[in-house]
Each structure stands twice: as structure tokens, then as C-alpha cells.
Amino acid sequence: MCSGESKTNYQFPGTKVGRLRAVFVAPSATVMAVLFFAPLLIIVAYSLLSRGPYGGVMHPWTPENYRRVFDPLYGQVLWRSIWIAGAATALCLILGFPLALYIARAKRHRTLLLNLVMLPFWTSFLIRIYAWMFLLRDTGLINTALQELHVISQPLPLLFNTGAVILGLVYGYLPFTVLPLYATLEKLDPELLDAAEDLGASPWSALWRVTVPLSRSGIIAGCLLVFIPCVGAYLTPDLMGGGKTVMAGNLVQNQFTTARDWPFGAAASLVLMLLVLAIMQILRRRSEELL
């Protein structure tokens, strides 16, 4: 997520090259202005208005919506989003690091092994969630099988709880941790580990004191790629939490549909967006310190 400018600052020699460039940028700039910034501005305006009698928006201007977002009732939703996303990120790292290490150190078929991790990403996200629902439901495969085998008499409550939401998020975003981790681990000079061994380090302490610190940029990138979509997740808590584990995304969606309190929903979505940006900024600064 760094700035996207390229290193090349090549100029066409003595031509009126600026014109073509401006023309090329224009359509994208228009799309971004009309379909990204204008909607965002409307949300900013709405967040400062009051709710109208029929679910519309009306004057006067008020900061009331923002105060409500941090009410204990809604504040806890925000807090829950943060800790669930944090837990999912931590689990992704714990599960993804050994896998990335295995792929980076594999003698053969590295590309194949990496592609196999990325492949589920190309199938539908909705279907991947549905696959877990099929396994975990009260009438799902696991509960049915256990009942047929007379291990349990009542179905276990596997779905529609916070644990299921975290499982769904980890399953959905694990590939995003493996990819950046692999990219840094692959570049790691194996001689460093030989040196550590020669100096008497056990494999475990070599891993902990050489490999992990050197792959910090990959770890931070992996954290960003998982935490950001998780904190704003809507679909996973909605389907796997069954409406019981309400995260910030569900709160926003509900305000814009069922509750029809657009000003409050607008304030909540801006707070969510600022949260994401703040976390990005913190993690980016961390990784820059290293460079």
C-alpha cells in the first residue's frame, strides 16, 4: 500500500506529450470524482444532518450522530469489530507463517504450492462461506454425522456465534497473509541461517531471532491485508454470525436498509473508514521505521 509512482521519470524528448497524458487520465479521474468522492461528500454531509420523519434527511446540522456512534451501545459494536478483526489477523499469521515458510523452503513446485493457496481466492467468497455453513449448521454435515454415530443427541451450536465468524474470516483471508509472507521469506538469504547454526543457535531460536525479525515487512503487509477487510466485514458476520454477532459493517448496513436512519449510518460508516485509515497509518509507520 505504498504510493504508486514508478521510478521511471522518462520524458519524451521535446514533444507536446502532456496533452495525451491529460487525456488518458481524464476518464479515470472523472470516474473517481463522480463515483467515489462525490458519494463520500454526500455521506459526510448526511452524517451531520438529522433523520427526517420518513427516513429521509433534514436540517438542522448537528454533531449528534457522531456522539451516538460512541454511545456504549454502539461503541461496543465498534470495539467488537476491532477485536474480532484482530483475532482473525493473529490466527491468519499463526496459520500462515509456517505455511509460507514451508513453501519458501520447498525444493520443488514452489509456484504450484503458492498457486494452490491462492486458488480459493478465485472462487466465489460467498460460496466459500456457504461451504462452511453446510458443514456447521444444526442440520449440517458435522452435526448430522455425529448424531448418526450417536456421539451426541442434540446438535452442537457450531454456527451463528462469534467463533464461527472468526473461522469464516480466517478461512477467507488466509491467502492474503501467505502471499506477502512468502514474498519476504523467499528473499531471505539461507546463509544467514547457516551462520546462526554455526554460532550455536538451535533451529527454534534461529527461526525466532533471525527469520521472524527479517520477515517483518511481510508480516506487517499480511496484517494490513487481513485486518482492513476484516474490520469492515459485512458478509461473514451476517451469514456465519446469523445476525447475532453484529460488527460495524452490519450496523452500517442496517441503518441504511431496515432502520432507515441514514444520518446515523453515514456517521458510523465515516468512523469505520477513519478507523481503517488510522490503522493503516500506524502499521505503515512501523514498517517505514525498518527501512
Partner: protein, 246 residues
């Protein structure tokens, strides 16, 4: 050992779902092989209509966002436009639900002046907006390995700037453009959150249909459909990959 368990974790749910799409019974116990659910998917009018909608939306959004994103990526490679670059990154990290509600609010607000309604066109516009950042990033990554001397050579040989772009740069960039289009298509075809917010009455998409069915409970139709979508996307990616290599 650990790696095997990790791959199992990634693939087992999808594999189980595929196997049970051939189950003769509605319950989650194996009762024999059957094509029943595949047959019922093909007789499900709503599902077919949703699939066609999804294909139309993904195709149009992919073509437009790939075209304008490629141009923007090329321009950004030559010169910095920090405002555009930063807004593209910002759109990439904005939570989907926030993008969705802001587009909804924007469309509803603008409809006061333009007498139109939510529908397929609003979905397509929304998809173009969130696909654009993906295209620009893929194209920029591709251009980092592109040698500007090739363009200089073209200019020295008397081609104008546009001819160089069209005859030299675009052909070399083609694999990147295909990759970008592929990414757009899958992201657009799969999107639920933004689509469901900006869709109108006659623009139900496949993910919206699947969502409704998944919500209702056990529905073996979805199992069959899942395998077909996964296989369909797989074939699509394989074909595009082959095209890219050529």
C-alpha cells in the same frame, strides 16, 4: 505434515460441498448419487436470470474499467498525478459496505434531478468504480518491467506519440491487460455487498440469489451451483492464462 493440514483446511469445505452436490437426498447424509440438483438448477428461472444479469454486469464493467484503467495506468507511469493515485488507493482500502452506502446515497440524491431509478446501470457504475483501482495497480506493476527505450526507438523511427502507444506499448502490455480484466471480472462477478445496496428491482445478480438461498437454509441447489461456478471460473482463468502466455 503441517502444510498438508493447511491445504486440507483450505480445500476440505469446498470438496465436501462438491461431493454433496451429487447427493440424492436433501439432508446432509450420503444417500446415493444423483444429478437431481443440477437438473433443478437449470429449471430455476430466477437463478438463470440472475446469472445472465451477473454476466452482463461483469462484462460491461470489465471492459470499461479495463480500458480507462489501462490509460490511467500508462499516464501515471509517465508522470505523477498524486491526487488520482491516492484516491485509487483510498478506494481500495475503503470498506465495501462504506463504498456501497455512499454510492446508494449518491444515486438516490442525484435521482432527484435525473428521473431514473436504481437498476442494472447503477450496479454497472458501482462496479466500474471499485474495479478501477485493481486495473491501475496491475497495469502499473506490469509497466515497471517495460523498457521505455522501446518507445524512444519508435519515436526516433518517426512514429507519433499515439502510434507508439498503440503499436508498441499496448501489444507488450497485453498480458497485463488480460490479467487486469480477469481480476475485474471475477471481483465484479462475485460482489455481493455493494451490488445488493445499489441494485434495483430488475437487477438481481447471482451472488444476491445465492445469498438469499444460503440465508433460507439447506438448499442443495446451491451446492450444485457452487461447483458449476467454481468450475466455470476455473476454466475461464485457465483459458485466459493460456492466452496471456501466448
Amino acid at each position: 505434515m503441517y502444510a498438508a493440514a493447511a491445504y486440507l483446511f483450505l480445500y476440505a469445505p469446498l470438496a465436501v460441498l462438491s461431493v454433496f452436490s451429487f447427493n440424492a437426498s436433501k439432508v446432509a447424509m450420503w444417500r446415493g448419487f444423483s444429478w437431481e440438483w443440477y437438473r433443478s438448477v437449470f429449471h430455476n428461472e430466477a437463478l438463470l436470470e440472475a446469472t445472465i444479469n451477473s454476466l452482463i454486469i461483469a462484462t460491461v464493467a470489465t471492459i470499461i474499467s479495463t480500458a480507462i484503467g489501462t490509460l490511467a495506468g500508462y499516464a501515471l507511469w509517465k508522470k505523477r498525478f498524486p491526487l488520482l493515485t491516492n484516491s485509487l488507493y483510498l478506494s481500495l482500502v475503503t470498506p465495501e459496505i462504506v463504498t456501497g452506502v455512499s454510492l446508494l446515497a449518491f444515486f438516490e440524491w442525484s435521482f432527484r434531478f435525473l428521473h431514473v431509478q436504481l437498476g442494472m446501470h447503477t450496479v454497472i457504475l458501482a462496479h466500474i468504480s471499485f474495479c478501477l483501482a485493481y486495473v491501475v495497480i496491475v497495469i502499473l506493476a506490469r509497466l515497471r518491467t517495460f523498457d521505455p527505450a522501446l518507445e524512444e526507438a519508435g519515436l526516433d523511427l518517426g512514429a507519433n506519440e499515439w502510434q507508439v502507444f498503440w503499436r508498441v506499448t499496448i501489444p507488450i502490455l497485453l498480458p497485463g491487460i488480460v490479467a487486469a480484466a480477469l481480476l475485474c471480472f471475477t471481483v465484479s462477478f462475485d460482489d455481493y455487498v455493494i451490488t445488493s445496496l445499489v441494485a434495483g428491482v430488475n437487477s438481481e445478480t447471482l451472488p444476491m440469489r445465492i445469498y438469499a438461498m444460503a440465508r433460507k437454509g439447506v438448499s442443495p441447489d446451491v451446492n450444485a451451483l457452487s461447483l458449476m461456478i467454481t468450475a466455470g471460473l476455473g476454466v475461464f482463468i485457465l483459458l485466459a492464462g493460456r492466452l496471456e502466455r501466448r
